[in-house]
Symmetry: C2
Amino acid sequence: MTPPLRSALDFLLHDWLHAESLTARERFADHSRETFDAVLDTCERIAREKYAPFNRTVDTEEPRFDGERVILPQCTHDARQAYAESGMLSAAQDYELGGMQLPYVVESAANAFFGVASISISSSLLTTGNANAILAHGTALQQQVFAANEFNGRWTGTMCLSEPQAGSSLSDIATRAVSDGEDFERDPLGPRYRLQGNKMWISAGEHEMTENIVHLVLAKIPGPDGRLVPGVKGISLFIVPKHLVDTEGRLTGERNDVALAGLNHKLGWRGTTNTLLNFGEGRYPVRGSAGAIGYRVGQPGEGLKCMFHMMNEARIAIGMAATMLGLAGYYASLDYAKTRLQGRPIGAGGKDTTQPQVPLIEHADVKRMLLAQKSYCEGALALNLYCARLVDEVRTGEPQAAAEARLLLEVLTPIAKSWPSENCLEANSLAIQIHGGYGYTRDFPVEQYWRDNRLNMIHEGTHGIQAMDLLGRKVVMQGGAGLALLARAMGRTLDEARGHAQLAGWADQLAQALQDVEATTRAAWATGDAQQALANAVPYLQAFGHMVLAWTWLDVALAVLRSDTTLSIAASQGRMGAARYFYHYELPRIGAWLAVVARRDMTCADMSASMF
Amino acid sequence: MTPPLRSALDFLLHDWLHAESLTARERFADHSRETFDAVLDTCERIAREKYAPFNRTVDTEEPRFDGERVILPQCTHDARQAYAESGMLSAAQDYELGGMQLPYVVESAANAFFGVASISISSSLLTTGNANAILAHGTALQQQVFAANEFNGRWTGTMCLSEPQAGSSLSDIATRAVSDGEDFERDPLGPRYRLQGNKMWISAGEHEMTENIVHLVLAKIPGPDGRLVPGVKGISLFIVPKHLVDTEGRLTGERNDVALAGLNHKLGWRGTTNTLLNFGEGRYPVRGSAGAIGYRVGQPGEGLKCMFHMMNEARIAIGMAATMLGLAGYYASLDYAKTRLQGRPIGAGGKDTTQPQVPLIEHADVKRMLLAQKSYCEGALALNLYCARLVDEVRTGEPQAAAEARLLLEVLTPIAKSWPSENCLEANSLAIQIHGGYGYTRDFPVEQYWRDNRLNMIHEGTHGIQAMDLLGRKVVMQGGAGLALLARAMGRTLDEARGHAQLAGWADQLAQALQDVEATTRAAWATGDAQQALANAVPYLQAFGHMVLAWTWLDVALAVLRSDTTLSIAASQGRMGAARYFYHYELPRIGAWLAVVARRDMTCADMSASMF
């Protein structure tokens, strides 16, 4: 029997998204369903052998610092090595860079296996994102020296944005970068600076898994008066390697002045080291002056723009991570519910205790908790793969289609990140509940999934920031062109669904939801006052997300009906059941969320600190 | 300045519930506002000195078994000793038993300080509940030997219900109790039996904090054919002391055959040992035959009835525990939001990054997360104190009032237990969110509150079981008399609220919610088919709970208006803000929950195992 994740991915990739049709494009011409399957097979196997057995190990054997080096369990080294050797780090890259030119949607699907097996061992997304940012904005030599050695697995990468005094508020970062000598612009690795400052929440900021670590650091170049430019406009981007390298990518033997100031001890996601790093504090003095050596990427003042390039994909990846944790809990609780005997069903004979106990899955409320999980997590998986498919369209579509995909992706990214973070976390809670007391013990995996998943509403832009991005920017930019584009895409699904008696009711429900969201968007901004419009941005995000997921499920349901003869009957009934659950139990929730947005409810905003 | 919990308790106890009026009753005649205050003062102090500083200690220094004894950190011993010495174990008991004859509502309020300070050190509720069950159903000597020595702090007590193969399904327990010799009925401590079986999830099942542990054990007495009676009717209740005692309560020096089989390693709530116990496995052979010695309490076959006596109060206590964890997170995140500087407000000047950063609490979304917590947790506190006040009415009210209070309590108990378990857990998640990345680290207390609180939807009857109890029994028993009584109580609040222009709109909203719940209750049972009626019992529980909390807030708002001149303006505005939040953001959610119940939606129930 095909494992459930593989079945879900195969259905979504092929029956729904027709990934194979991408092979008609020049970039993917060497690919076929067979090569896609081979990549999934490989990842499934590595995840099964090198990741899944060690998920609890990386939770209990937390990273620790012995004063000289960060110690990680052996399984983390082994898993990373197996991943790097698989070629997945550069799967989507050009052949010249050693890549496979794999569509991003297939790469995302293949990476799903690692997320389900062990999310915190599998955090390679920062290395890929880091290297992609250098590819997009770095010089040819920066690409060759730094990006290429990340893609080939020799080095890892980090993203250094936050600082202890500036978490979500990047405009307030205080790390300084001053030009390093008169000849600073003539360094072949890029304009050379000296950096001083502290960076917080840096994942994989220090370890011994690779011979070098490539930090991508946001810092401010002081003006002629020596003062930092306030706001995000003063921010530039720098490559700061842990060990200095030459133009051939060889270590020069000089340790750069990047020092571990502390490890963060987290609630979950413990397989990934999270650090506070000090740049240029003087612990590792280098080349006779103060500061860590860094090479500027792109133009001064454009650091955030360069970084955002990697942040959108990072956000989709976080959505995928949340989804994978949700699915991991769903599979665990499904397995438990099928095997654990407990109680008897309600109704005729239910109280006849001479009868043997039945599996948990026979109870209606357990089915409800399983179906909710399936609806949340398979829906989130579909949405994230759809977004990944849009990334392929941006990269390889005809100009008009690429432009539309880019705009749609802008609107959907906050949802792809936030919706799974919130709802697949709830799924993990349901997975615990199905296990009863056992779910609350560390003998079962579900409590860890729940702890791990709690991170996803926080990192890569909190829920509140995603909400401001959506309602404050994405649905209003270009005169609302993004929302209008989404409405047209939904309209195509609605038109098709209305042709199926089975789906017409859901189509009406969704059409109404879309009207309500559109009307609410206008009402929120009716006074043009951002404080009023955004006072309830998170409820808006929640409602918008539910609408998008309802659309996703309706579109998936169409694919089920289209493919019905080739799929297993039970699997199709399961997908239709999950879609029905979403329309019956979830979509009706949006009314309560939208109401406060539409009337610009200031109940919360009007509170003052002394009233709490 | 009065600490926030004390202000909340004072307001609810006195301005809302008029606890002092209980002193007009004979049982409480020696009491006054001053004696109530003194008890609260004492508990507040002990909680501050002996509990709060050690909440993280009991999380990191989990109970462990060295092969002979269970090791707990010293702070746990100290906290328990201080609690026992305070007299709170028997606060509500008669003077003759060494008690203070304190009203239960005041006892509950006083215990709140321990819950907020450290929920898992503070788990004394089982000892009190155990002793209360012996008081209610035991013989005079059982009361004197066992209950009295629990109330005075010499011994602790447990509740041994679940078994590894029978979690929520008590009818399937397999622990056997056979009469111990011909003279078994003549033992002065009660009819003597030998017990054999395994009990799971036993809190405080083994430790060295006291010289003895009094286990209250559910077991089945085999029929003449040696077989156990199926179902709950065959269950009896037994006192099984860890060490045997004489009729004076002195240890005889004989260890009873109760053996620790294992400690459960939990997600949270780690200050309380949780155990698997083997009764009569032969590890401690006693008096020459097999089995642990137990003394029956009450009549054979009435064990569950005797145990339920303590389960209702235990359920209210769980609701209080969930509430206290919620409040602990609220206070922590409020403090953080007031002191942590981050970003700038939206709107005029908001993007002027030359201005200093503002405290988090200046951001609308942070206020939203704080107000949601306040609304959930102070609302839950009010409901639980109201239920505690009903317990006093049952015990000391005039016959008619006592009977009504008993019936109302039956209906409200599933809500008092389940609503805080779900919503104050969500509050804890919001407290993490306000802290951002710091909330995800173990340097801040909020992640622990969230982990600790996850237990409350599971123990003392899962969410699913509370829901079946409510919709399957409480609202339909006696021809719906319980629901009708609740409606009348709500009606009194509605009548008064309609007289206030400020509250009339909320009263209309609540009246509609009540009508919807009543209509949905009828619709659920319209076909008389329990499978259909109960298919969506949990959404019903959620909607019913939100209605009850909306009622609670409306009634609290009336007390605010009544007492307005004597209270701080900011505190009153805060309470009205929390009430408004509930009416604007929360009550409108019930529509989505009730809809599936009203149409007896079988989307989940119709799923078969193969479709998942």
